[in-house]
Structure formats: structure tokens, C-alpha cells
Amino acid sequence: MKKLMPSLVMVAVSVALTGCMQSEQQDAKVTINKNPYPSTYQTLPQQTTLIKNATVLIGNGERLDNADVLFVDGKVSQVGQNLAADGATVIDGQGKWVTPGVIDVHSHYGVYPSPSVESHADGNEMTAPNTSEVWAEHSVWPQDPGFNAARAGGVTTLQILPGSANLFGGRGVTLKNVPSHTMQGMKFPNAPYGLKMACGENPKRVYGGRKEAPGTRMGNMAGYRMAWAEAAEYKRAWEKYDADYAAGKNPAAPVRDIELDTLKGVLDGEILIHNHCYKAEEMAMMVDLGKEFNYHSGTFHHAVEAYKIADMLGENGNCAAMWPDWWGFKMEAYDMVEENVAIVDAMKNSCAVVHSDSGTTIQRLNQEAAKVMYRANENGFALTEADAIRWITSNAAKSLGIADKTGSLEQGKNADVVIWNTNPFSVYALAEQVFVDGAKVYDRFDENYQAQSDFMLGQE
């Protein structure tokens, strides 16, 4: 008898709960603030600007000779011949080339800044194979002198990613390359977050070396699948909560999990995958992984073997972010070909991107693209500057989910613009003036437009 008591009580309680649920006052709806560190970016002082008679690479595959570029209120207003605008600052573009601002989809500026001293190693949370809860933006040191160096190379937008030790390294952040003393002051408004994932040698080396999982490539795959399965459940729990609440019930909200928030963001299509993945067979598996858990596998970074699966990447709508010629530093980088980018680019529905992952080459992404173009043309391709510029402008913007805002000099896009002293595919090319949202942020001949980080100020 006594034994029965508790269950009877339970039944009574649950009946009571169910009974009153419909009529009970609902608790406040639990919602997650998806933008708790919002951009405070403000356009720098800008004015109506008209560049006259330049060679213009639009960034969409088109080239215009002797053309004018007009930007008004920070947006590209017109590109064409014989343009005029009242009160515009007119720049003589004779002999010069104009391109969209350069975009690097893979940078560690700010999280691995200069000087690269112990206190500055903030880019790789090497403490667990899944650190989807960390956000690169929380590590960014805006005083990294690299930002200024890259601006002199025409870089107007860059994605800062966590490193590649982990299966899930954390969130990346897209920044406008403007000087600021806060990260929020650089944050690209409304750019989607990226989730850094890593295939291959790094995760298995870092954790296998500690006798932890993953220690093999199959361990890598198991780690991703376990995490996505958990994320799928978390997503279902929230969806159930939302549905129950909408139905007038007063459900308990799922326990908040910062790590799973990021993975759920991917499953919801709000966060884009940026996957460090060199090898053809691994990229193919990552595509299938995305299909298994119903998300898009995004952009493959350091895709040294993309040329082996170029058709599959196109069919699946993946971008591949590549170096022109880095190789040999590990086995997964051994099968480099100098035409990799061009082979990927030649496919239908392709999205070939040239990236740096380097504080040095980010300053010369135009030359990186040039190397690919010329080596490919020596070997049977017929690529032009208008084609190749897309690898560091519009395709990069597409990879970051900001192609509606920047990446080409089309009407209405942000006036992110570079004026080069000559053909940017020459080794002698230098960016002379760089604009972000129509505001001049760099001028090679005017020290007033050459920013210097706090760190370098007053160093003798």
C-alpha cells in the first residue's frame, strides 16, 4: 500500500499539470539573442567620387576599357563612359586599373597577430575536438599591424577564422578592413557567421597525440557525426519548444548550450561552413556528411586536391578556396597543381576562390590570382583578368554570403574599390587608393590615409 502511494501522487500531479496547462499563464518566451556583439561599424568620411578613364574589372567577368566609376553615398552608382556628377571628387584613372575591393575568406589577423608572441596566440582553442562554442571575434586584436598592411594590398573585407586543430574550431567573423579600436567597429554588418571545421591531419595529430579521439581520419568522421546528431536533437528540442509555446502551452525551454547553438545555426541555414579540407576523398565525404545531416557543406579551404573533384564541387554548389602554389608542407598538401583554381573554375556552377591563410600573401592576393591565370594559360586555358579577378572578389563574397553587398562594381553594391597603378596582374602593380563604402581608407601617396596600429606608434 505504502509502495503505491508515490505513483498515485505522480499520476495526480501529472493530471493536474495537464489539466491546468491550457489555462495557465505562459512564462515569458525564451529566445536566443543571435547577435549579442553587434557591429558598431560606421562608414568613414566619404564623398561622391568619380574615377575617370580607367580600365575597370567589374568582378562579374566583365572588363570595361576607358571607363568611369561613380560612387555616391557609399554605393556604386554607375560604371560606364562619359559619366559626370555634380560636386564629385574626380580622380584621373588614365593608365590605371580599377577593381572591386579584394576579399580574403581565410585570415588569422587579429587572432594570430604580429608580434606573434605567446600572449597573442588566440586563434586555436586546442582543448577539445569540438569547440563550436568559441567565436574568433572574441579573440580579435584590432591593433594587429597586419590589417594595415593588407589594406595597402587592396583588401577591404576579410574573414577571421579560428585555427584548424579541432573538428569544429568555432565561429569565424567577417570584418571590414577599416582601422578600429574595437572588433565591433570592424564587424561587417549583417554578414553571416562562418563555422570553421577541419578535416584530415590536424585534428587527428593534435588529439591522437594526446591519446584522445580522434586519432585517425575515421575518428574525425565519427566526431563530426556524433556532434551533428546531437545538434539535430537540440534543434528538434527548440522547435518543439517553439511549437508548444505557439500552441499556447507553457513548455520548459531546452537548456541553453552555446556549443550547440552554433551547430544549430548551421542546420538552420544561418551559419556557413568553412571547412579546412585538402584532399579529394575527404571533401567528397564532407559533402555526404552535409547530406546526411541536411546542411550545406559550404566552402572547402586549402582545397589542394579540388581539381580531382572539380565536377562534384560544381554539382553540389561548393566553393573551393585555394592557394595558387603552396604545397609539400604535409602529406595532404603534396598533390598540388598550379592550375588547381583554373580547373575548378572551368566547371559549371563553380565557385573558385583564391585565399591566403597568410599574413604575407594576403597583401598580394592579386599576384596570387595572377600566378594561377598565367600558369593555366600556359597549359591550355584561356583566362582573362576579368575572369581571374572574381577569385578574389565576387566568388570570395559568395563564399562568405555577402555577394549581395560587395565583391563587384555593380550598381547598388558597397563602393569597396581599389585603384591600381597598373594591371593588377603584374608583379609591379601597387594599390594606390583603397575605398570601403565609398570612403578612402588608404592612399599610397598621402600619409593622412596610411593608418598605423597603436603597437607600432612610437617604436624606434
Binding site: V337, Q363, S426, V427
Partner: protein, 421 residues
């Protein structure tokens, strides 16, 4: 894939070259070339260079007599470029321990990695394609501040391609993760002092007792290397960045009459005049412009040009992984874009390298080894390609493993790629 036919043409040329290189002893006259001699003769238009038996035998002879005549069609002929301070031939894949021979925990001043050099490394054919005919390979060393000795090899892939072994003693000075930079600097100074004293003493004894002095003890191998430095038989190559360290080693040079070469030298512009006055070459990366440490706050893209203008002999090298050595010509182009004189930049990847490491190559002059490159245009430009190359007078095959991989994946076949060779 677009336009496969052009590549087909280039493989025909490659076949022709393979045939040509078997005609070993043939003399060749390259006519109608724009020749950058990198000597006082300067740049010669429409010039003829004759090579025979591996050596340049004539420039602009009155009449051309050669087994083969090669019309350069006005294109640019330069000495082969020389890359340096990398691990080509010692490291195949950087992260694969069993493919690395440049590191050794116990390496010291006697470490001579030339005996481990692999002329068949896949880096060599790839690097050669970038107009580089010779390389100065440097060990990474180990715990000692002496990282070992450098050696030079021609990049022709031959088993006898090392042509200058043990040609420089490598030392790393500067900031330390544990301890003080003073320790190594003092240790080096004391080693030189002690060896100098011993040599002076031996010389006195010899003068006093005559040549057949009995107390002569054979010096240890490590002592012999220090003695070689004191006798100026080979350069002391010092990795050093901060200006104070540069000044300290310049003082050592003066005090012990060393053949000194500075490597890295981030702060060099602060003490450019002292370096120039001491006639010390600087081996540096042209693209280094981020302040990576407190020892390198003065790196700048303009540094190569600044040093050159101050009268320093600059040698350009590619920083970072050996697999990137092929970038050398583009790095030189960037140095020019940032203010370096064109001809000086050319010297910085040819003659100046040869001079710094005492190598007999790097110039187009009668009597020099025929290490020569014919370029489609300006060798520093991204659009330019290497059209022909001769190393010790032999025409080189310009194809790498990378080319074969590209061809495999751009050739259509019904069978799996593995069947396409």
C-alpha cells in the same frame, strides 16, 4: 576543359628537349638574345652566347661555330637564379619525419648535411621550372647555436650535383625563448677568442721551433671549423635580426677578420651604413614586412632597396617553406616594385648569391659555368615563363610531378584516372 591543344604543343617541346639533353657534349650558340650578363658588361642586345663542354666559351664572337644554333628571338637571357637558405634536397614533405634530413638534435658546427642530399627530390624539378639553376641548402640544426654547414647544388637532378659542400658555418643569434641572447653571443665570442689565441700560440711556437715542432696536436674537428673561419676560408653565416645584434657581429667580423654574411637582418636599415662599410652582404626575404617579434620591428617592403642604395650587397631569398623557393623571381619583382633598382634585384638573385657563398656561377661571362635561363620576357613578371634552361651547358627538362598530375586530371578517359600516365 578549354583549349587542350596548347599544352600538347608544349609536351612536344619537352620531348625534343629530352632528346637534346642526351646530346651531351654538343656546343650551343644562343643567338639574338637580350643578355643580362650581371657583370660590368651590363645588358647586351642581340647578343650571342656560346657554350661548350659546360662552360661559356664566347660572348659575341666574330663568327659562330657551334653544333647547335638556338635563335632566342630577342628574348631575355640571364644567369640561372640561385635560391638559398632553404632545405631543398633535405626535406621532401615538411611534416613527414622520415622525409627530413635537415634537423638533428645533436647537430653542431661539424654537421654537414650535403651527404644526405637527394637530387631526385620532387622539389628540384619544380624549383628548376622557376628559372633556378642552383641552390644553397641550409640545415636547421638542433640545440646548438651552430646549426651546421651549408652546401650548394646544381638543380639538374644528377647524383653529382653538389658542387660546393661545407661552404658556410651557420649560427643563430638573437632572442631566446629561454634565457638571454647574451649567452650565445658570448659563447661565440669566446670560441673565436680561444681559437685565435691557440692559433697565435701555435704560430709563435712554429716560428720559434721551426716547422717540425713536435708538440703539434691535431685540433678537434669542431676546432678546425672555427680555425677555418678565422683564416677566412669560408663565411660565418649569422641569423640575426635586432640592430644591436647586427652591430655585435660586425664587431666580431672586424676583430677576427671574418668573412661574415648576415641572414634575415630585419633591423638592417637602422645600421645600413655600418653594414655597407664592413662590406657584409645581407641575405633577406623581400616580402618580410610584418613585425613578427620585438627583434623585427623595422621590416618593410622597401628594405631591400634601401640597403642596396646604402651600398650593401643584397641577396634575396624566399622566407618560409622550401617548397616556395620557386617564388624567388616574383619576390625580386616585388623588391623592384617597392624601390629596388632592377639590375640590383637581378644581381640579388644571381651574382650576389654566388659571391656571398663563394660559388663559381651566377654571371654570364666567358669561363663561367653555363648555368643560363632563357625567359619569354622579364623574368620577374608573373606572366613570364622559362623557355629554356642550361645547367653546366646541358639543356634541362622543364617538367615536374605537378605537371603530370595536372595532365592526369585534365585528360578525359573512360577508365579511372589511375590509368592516365
Amino acid at each position: 576543359m578549354t583549349l587542350r591543344n596548347k599544352r600538347f604543343k608544349s609536351s612536344l617541346i619537352a620531348l625534343a628537349l629530352a632528346a637534346a639533353s642526351s646530346a651531351h657534349a654538343a656546343s650551343v650558340a644562343i643567338t639574338n638574345a637580350k643578355v643580362h650578363t650581371v657583370t660590368d658588361a651590363g645588358v647586351l642586345e642581340n647578343a650571342t652566347v656560346v657554350i661548350d663542354n659546360g662552360v661559356i666559351t664566347a660572348i659575341n664572337p666574330e663568327s659562330v661555330a657551334a653544333d647547335q644554333v638556338f635563335d632566342a628571338n630577342g628574348k631575355v637571357l640571364t644567369p640561372g637564379f640561385i635560391s638559398s637558405m632553404n632545405q631543398i634536397g633535405l626535406v621532401e614533405v615538411s611534416a613527414v619525419a622520415h622525409s627530413r634530413d635537415a634537423d638533428a638534435k645533436k647537430a653542431d658546427i661539424t654537421f654537414d648535411p650535403s651527404v644526405a642530399f637527394n637530387p631526385k627530390s620532387s622539389l628540384i624539378s619544380f624549383t628548376r621550372k622557376a628559372g633556378i639553376t642552383a641552390n644553397v641548402t641550409a640545415p636547421n640544426g638542433g640545440d646548438s647555436m651552430f646549426k651546421g654547414q651549408t652546401f650548394a647544388a646544381k638543380l639538374n637532378g644528377e647524383f653529382d650535383s653538389v658542387f660546393s659542400a661545407k661552404n658556410g658555418v651557420l649560427v643563430a643569434l638573437g632572442s631566446e625563448s629561454k634565457g638571454s641572447r647574451a649567452t650565445n653571443l658570448l659563447a661565440l665570442t669566446h670560441k673565436l677568442e680561444d681559437a685565435k689565441k691557440a692559433l697565435d700560440k701555435a704560430a709563435k711556437m712554429a716560428a720559434k721551433n721551426g716547422k717540425d715542432s713536435k708538440d703539434k696536436k691535431e685540433p678537434k674537428r669542431s676546432e678546425q671549423e672555427i680555425n677555418a673561419l678565422l683564416k677566412g676560408e669560408k663565411p660565418l653565416l649569422v641569423y640575426v635580426d635586432r640592430a644591436t645584434d647586427i652591430l655585435a657581429v660586425l664587431e666580431l667580423k672586424q676583430r677576427f677578420n671574418l668573412d661574415l654574411v648576415l641572414l634575415g637582418a630585419a633591423d638592417a636599415p637602422l645600421v645600413a651604413q655600418q653594414i655597407a662599410d664592413a662590406k657584409v652582404p645581407v641575405v633577406m626575404g623581400a616580402l618580410r614586412n610584418l613585425p613578427g617579434s620585438f627583434d623585427s620591428l623595422h621590416v618593410n617592403l622597401a628594405n631591400a632597396g634601401k640597403l642596396d642604395k646604402a651600398g650593401v650587397n643584397v641577396v634575396l631569398t624566399v622566407d618560409g617553406d622550401s617548397h616556395n623557393a620557386h617564388q624567388l623571381r616574383f619576390d625580386a619583382g616585388n623588391a623592384v616594385a617597392n624601390g629596388m633598382d632592377y639590375q640590383e634585384a637581378l644581381a640579388a638573385v644571381t651574382a650576389n648569391v654566388a659571391d656571398a657563398f663563394n660559388l663559381d656561377t651566377g654571371r654570364i661571362a666567358v669561363g663561367k659555368p653555363a648555368d643560363i635561363v632563357l625567359w619569354s620576357a622579364d623574368p620577374f613578371e608573373l606572366s613570364t615563363t622559362v623557355e629554356q634552361m642550361w645547367i653546366d651547358g646541358e639543356q634541362q627538362l622543364l617538367e615536374s610531378r605537378q605537371d603530370k598530375l595536372r595532365d592526369r586530371y585534365t585528360t578525359s578517359s573512360e577508365m579511372p584516372r589511375a590509368y592516365t600516365k
